[in-house]
């Protein structure tokens, strides 16, 4: 790069212009038209590669990209949700699609390593470097949301629009990279004679100079200009953003199909921390190959300055998405979307953890929603898990409390993901202050109050004790997926069944018959068993065997030794439930639920406990949540119906039971339960005609043994009779009463289509039904009762 040394244009300043900026006052030169007209633009309007570029841009537009100039992607602007200072220019980039001839995987641009932006603290620069590894093309396009969430489309943008027209770092964001002191500010106004007209002018802050506090040199001036060729391969197109460790440039790889790449320069080349960070990126990131993590292509030098060459990621940072949504709707991001982001982030972090690396600085700024997936950028804080020397990067509000003492860990990484999800999902006021290491009470946050599992997941992931957090990203992702399924099911009512990795399926659901609350031992026996392996504690195996056989006493003795395994806690809860001690059982299941907030089994168990404690609201909540998400748990739907009826909400009970799919083993029982929920014990004045007809139709459609069907038919007829006696006109449709009575005994009046059933017909049908039932039973007392009822309801006759 040519260094043209000239005097500063600012009057009274004796500084020299270096790289276009005064090395004393930092005055930036006026932008010229030539600089705005970037080589990219030149390529667009003419030149050898115009066609290819035009095709690329056109392709980007066809895929939904917004109009050119719609805004600089990834440029964080607008208010920070927490009120913390924004970090414009940090780790943002804009991109374009990949080169023609390759797959349509978008060319990705990114700014990695810009970790020293405002809000990010670092004690020293990351060290290490690594060359780019072999690139593996992995197609995970559109996987964001794990196939569960329909994610909003983030339009592609014209990479040219990502280039800054006037690449400057606002004075308010100029800090020394060593001591964080403000530098390059307009702190020294120009002295002028008092009689001089007009307002007293202020002198612009210097973009280059030395920190007045620690003496470290700084520069906020781009070192590369459009048209510069770096390492003989990368043609600089312009500046994308300014990060904590320097300017980020968009370039074109002239040797690899003109693909768009990002060059991340080191602003303060004399800064050892910055240099170390760059080296660290080079060292670690070359080994990282993951679709959710930005890819490092190369590390080059240009006139003594080092640059990392990374793929260009065309996307929007989560923070930007949040701010845009806040501005548009005043709301946070939808929870399913946030959970989908969290899942992707966990996948990425899990990959890093598998490589023995820690990300350390996950936050909404460092994740881009790009082309149907989430991409982690800014790997400047990545370090080895056992590294005790490298500087630790993190952001207030996201960083775990133990970082300063015990350093980062997998748990602290997962902590940052949970904190970021919290920030994205609700208005987390004070997340860098009052709630820097905690979460607000569930009751104060409607979202957390509504989604208890999500609340528990966040609280476990952000637990003050690192040992209480999730042990691995995969474990947290597993639970997060469960929570996501639960949330999605709650949003649209469609179940999201999935096989649990921790619990087996329900083998003997409780309370499927009669709509009656099962006995506690039956409830206990209905709960799913945790999956076990040979290596599990013997007490767990023994407890399971005994519980399966209903030998609760022996199971209790097997667990007498206690243990820390969660399955011991689970079985302790099961035994307490069987012992009619729902309070103790609830405590145990609550611990399991805390541990596995994405699992349905603990919620089912808590529903049982709440039922036994007569806490119908809680029981209904848990039952409904389980059934809504996992229709494999038949106990839940029957419990929901049971509790709903107890609360007087028969409609919910019927709707729940009616939702049991036809293919379910318990479909018939559910249909029967729906009829019972609709009619049993119901006052005629409380029963609507439509409900009665629905129940009648349900009974008619059921393929039941005659004895069961006759009883249900009698129930319908009794209800119908009640309606008639209450003076409410009734029509059961053509021949319905006959079929319900399973006989042709009804009078002629019923034969007419849709005719009203009169009392006589109903009584006659009921009498016949009861007599048939009486003939079918063996128990003399019951037979007597049935005949009594037959005589009691029969129409009054002369003889």
């Amino acid at each position: 790069m040519n260094h043209t040394l000239a005097l500063c244009a600012d009057n009274g300043c004796g500084g020299a212009v270096e790289d276009g900026y005064c090395n004393i006052c930092g005055t930036a030169p006026a932008p010229t038209a030539a600089r705005v007209s970037t080589p990219w633009r030149r390529g667009w309007h003419g030149g050898g590669r115009r066609v290819e570029i035009a095709r690329l841009v056109e392709g980007a537009r066809r895929t939904g990209a917004g109009p050119p100039g719609a805004g600089r992607p990834n440029a964080a602007s607008g208010p920070n949700p927490s009120g913390a200072p924004n970090t414009p220019g940090r780790t943002n980039g804009a991109g374009l699609s990949n080169t023609p001839g390759l797959s349509n995987t978008p060319g990705l641009s990114n700014a990695a390593g810009a970790s020293a932006a405002a809000g990010t603290s670092g004690t020293s620069g990351p060290g290490g470097a690594g060359g780019p590894g072999e690139r593996t093309v992995m197609s995970r396009r559109g996987t964001l949301g794990a196939g569960l969430v329909a994610m909003p489309h983030v339009p592609r943008r014209d990479p040219a629009d990502a280039i800054m027209r006037d690449p400057q770092v606002p004075e308010g964001r100029r800090f020394c990279s060593r001591c964080d002191s403000p530098v390059g500010r307009s702190a020294h106004p120009v002295r002028r004679p008092a009689r001089a007209p007009g307002p007293r002018p202020e002198r612009s802050g210097r973009t280059e100079g030395f920190c007045p506090r620690c003496g470290l040199g700084y520069s906020f001036t781009p070192k590369l200009r459009p048209g510069d060729i770096v390492a003989g391969q990368y043609e600089v197109l312009g500046c994308l953003a300014h990060g904590g460790l320097g300017w980020i440039y968009l370039a074109r790889d002239r040797q690899v199909g003109d693909r768009a790449v990002v060059l991340k320069g080191l602003l303060d080349s004399g800064d050892t921390d910055a240099m170390a960070a760059a080296v660290a990126e080079r060292r670690f990131l070359a080994t990282v190959q993951h679709p959710n993590i930005v890819e490092i292509h190369n590390f080059v030098e240009h006139f003594g300055a080092g640059y990392i060459v990374m793929e260009y990621v065309d996307g929007r940072s989560l923070k930007n998405l949040l701010l845009e949504r806040r501005e548009a709707t005043g709301e946070s991001l939808p929870l399913p979307q946030v959970l989908a982001y969290g899942l992707e982030a966990l996948h990425a972090l899990g990959h890093l953890h598998d490589l023995g690396l820690l990300y350390c600085d996950f936050k909404p700024d460092n994740a881009l929603h790009s082309d149907g997936r989430l991409r982690l950028i800014d790997l400047g804080g990545v370090r080895h898990a056992g590294d005790e020397q490298s500087p630790i990067y993190g952001t207030a509000g996201y960083q775990a409390p133990e970082i300063a003492e015990s350093g980062p860990s997998i748990g602290s990484d997962l902590y940052t993901v949970a904190r970021a999800m919290a920030v994205l999902s609700f208005e987390f006021h004070g997340y860098t202050g009052r709630y820097r290491y905690s979460l607000p009470d569930r009751e104060t946050v409607p979202l957390l109050a509504r989604y208890e599992s999500y609340d528990r997941l966040l609280r476990r992931a952000t637990h003050a004790d690192r040992r209480e957090r999730f042990g691995a990203a995969a474990e947290m992702a597993e639970q997060l997926t469960g929570v996501l399924r639960e949330v999605l099911a709650a949003e649209d009512g469609r179940p999201r069944p999935a096989r649990s990795a921790l619990f087996e399926g329900e083998t003997a659901p409780a309370g499927t018959r009669g709509g009656l609350r099962p006995a506690p031992p039956v409830m206990a026996a209905a709960l799913p068993h945790p999956r076990t392996e040979r290596t599990d504690p013997a007490s767990v195996h023994q407890a399971r065997e005994h519980v399966e056989r209903g030998e609760f006493g022996r199971a209790r003795r097997a667990l007498a030794g206690g243990g820390t395994d969660w399955r011991v806690t689970w079985y302790q809860g099961v035994l307490a439930l069987a012992d009619h001690d729902p309070a103790a059982a609830e405590r145990a299941f609550d611990r399991v639920y805390d541990r596995f907030p994405g699992e349905a089994a603990p919620q089912l168990a808590l529903a049982f406990c709440a039922e036994l404690k007569a806490d119908l609201d809680a029981a209904r909540r848990y039952h409904r949540r389980v059934w809504r998400t996992q229709q494999a748990h038949a106990s839940a739907v029957f419990g929901l119906a049971r509790v709903s009826v107890a609360r007087g909400d028969r409609a919910t009970a019927v709707a729940a039971l009616a939702s049991v799919p036809t293919a379910s083993f318990f479909h018939v029982d559910a249909q029967v339960g729906a009829v019972l929920a609709e009619l049993r014990g119901r006052e005629p004045g409380d029963l609507g005609l439509a409900e009665l007809l629905t129940a009648a139709g349900r009974v008619e459609a059921l393929d039941l043994a005659s004895r069961r069907k006759r009883r249900l038919g009698a129930l319908v007829l009794e209800s119908a009779l009640g309606q008639v006696l209450a003076g409410r006109p009734l029509s059961l449709g053509p021949g319905a009463a006959e079929r319900l009575a399973a006989d042709e005994v009804l009078a002629d009046g019923v034969d007419a289509l849709g005719s009203e059933l009169d009392e006589h017909d109903l009584r006659l049908a009921l009498e016949r039904t009861y007599r048939e039932l009486a003939r079918a039973v063996d128990d003399r007392a019951e037979r007597l009762g049935l005949i009594e009822r037959a005589n009691a309801v029969r129409p009054r006759t002369l003889t």
Partner: protein, 335 residues
């Protein structure tokens, strides 16, 4: 009406879905499995049995009344009544006999006297045979009654002594004083040893007739009230049964029970009338004490119950049969 308000639903073998129909299952004996308490069959059987029992009581009562009346009538018409007649006639014959003996012992001579005396003797002889015959009838009528038989035998003995005295008097016809003395002795014997016992025997028979008539009337009165009471209870029971059937089985009328009720309604006044009539005849016979009125009344009182006595028990049996016919199909429902 709460259409579906039944007992607390629970899952049973017969009701696997706990439908909870409004069926009240009576508690069953755990040992036998039979329902306990007052189930409808029991509520029907109990009044039916009561009705049958009352019908039987009614019939028995009527039979008892009729039998009592017949026993009194038989006593009057066949035993005490005829003997009293014999005694009365014997008394008259003996009086005529004694009167005729005075002419036999009257002193005199001549053919006219002799002719008169022969005629007197012939009359005596005729009356003596008649008296003896009556006396033998009396003795026969007292058979089976020791006291009366003893009196009758005493009469027979004294009548022999009387004849002996009269014979002696007749043998002393040529000695009028001796004959008259014997005739006076015979008259004294007649008045002291024959007329007095005859009076006692007549008194005994009158007492028996009065007792028979009184007893018959008493029995008639008692059985009449008994029949009325049983009939009323029976009617009440049948009515209650009818109401119960109407209420529990929603059947307004049971025709068999209705016929049974009608039967009882007819039977009771008939029986009362029958007993009252018999009692009136008996009373009349008792009041006549002797003579043809008594005999006719007694015979009527005996004959009429014989004709009608079968009606009350037959009616009662019919009532029982009707109740059984009326309840059999209803009870069969519960088997």
């Amino acid at each position: 009406m709460t259409a579906v308000a039944g007992p607390t639903p629970r899952i049973t073998e017969n009701d696997p879905d706990a439908v909870g129909l409004p069926v009240q299952v009576p508690p069953a004996n755990p040992r036998t499995g039979r329902p306990e308490g007052w189930s409808t069959p029991r509520r029907l059987r109990a009044p039916a049995l009561a009705a049958a029992l009352l019908a039987v009581v009614f019939g028995c009562t009527a039979v008892t009344g009729v039998t009592g009346l017949r026993a009194g009538s038989r006593e009057i018409a066949h035993r005490a009544g005829p003997r009293l007649t014999v005694t009365t006639e014997l008394r008259a014959v003996l009086g005529d006999l004694d009167a005729s003996t005075a002419a036999i012992v009257r002193g005199g001579s001549g053919p006219a006297w002799q002719a008169a005396r022969d005629a007197s003797i012939e009359s005596y002889e005729r009356q003596r045979v008649q008296a003896a015959a009556q006396l033998y009838r009396l003795v026969a009528a007292t058979d089976g009654e020791p006291r009366a038989a003893e009196l009758a035998r005493g009469l027979l003995s004294d009548f022999g002594r009387y004849q002996e005295l009269i014979g002696q008097a007749m043998a002393l016809g040529d000695r009028p004083l001796g004959a008259q003395s014997r005739q006076r002795d015979a008259s004294v014997l007649m008045s002291t040893s024959l007329f007095a016992p005859l009076e006692r025997l007549a008194g005994m028979d009158r007492d028996r007739i009065g007792a028979a008539a009184g007893n018959g009337r008493t029995v008639a009165a008692l059985t009449t009230w008994g029949a009325v009471a049983a009939g009323a209870l029976l009617l009440g029971t049948l009515a209650a049964l009818q109401v119960m059937l109407s209420r529990r089985l929603r059947r307004r009328v049971n025709p068999w029970l209705a016929v049974a009720t009608l039967t009882v309604l007819l039977l009771v006044p008939l029986t009362v009338s029958l007993l009252a009539s018999g009692a009136a005849d008996l009373r009349e016979a008792g009041s006549a004490a002797a003579g043809p009125t008594m005999a006719v009344s007694a015979e009527v009182a005996e004959r009429v119950p014989l004709v009608w006595a079968a009606i009350p028990p037959a009616g009662a049996a019919a009532v029982v049969l009707l109740v059984w016919l009326g309840l059999r199909p209803r009870l069969a429902e519960y088997r």
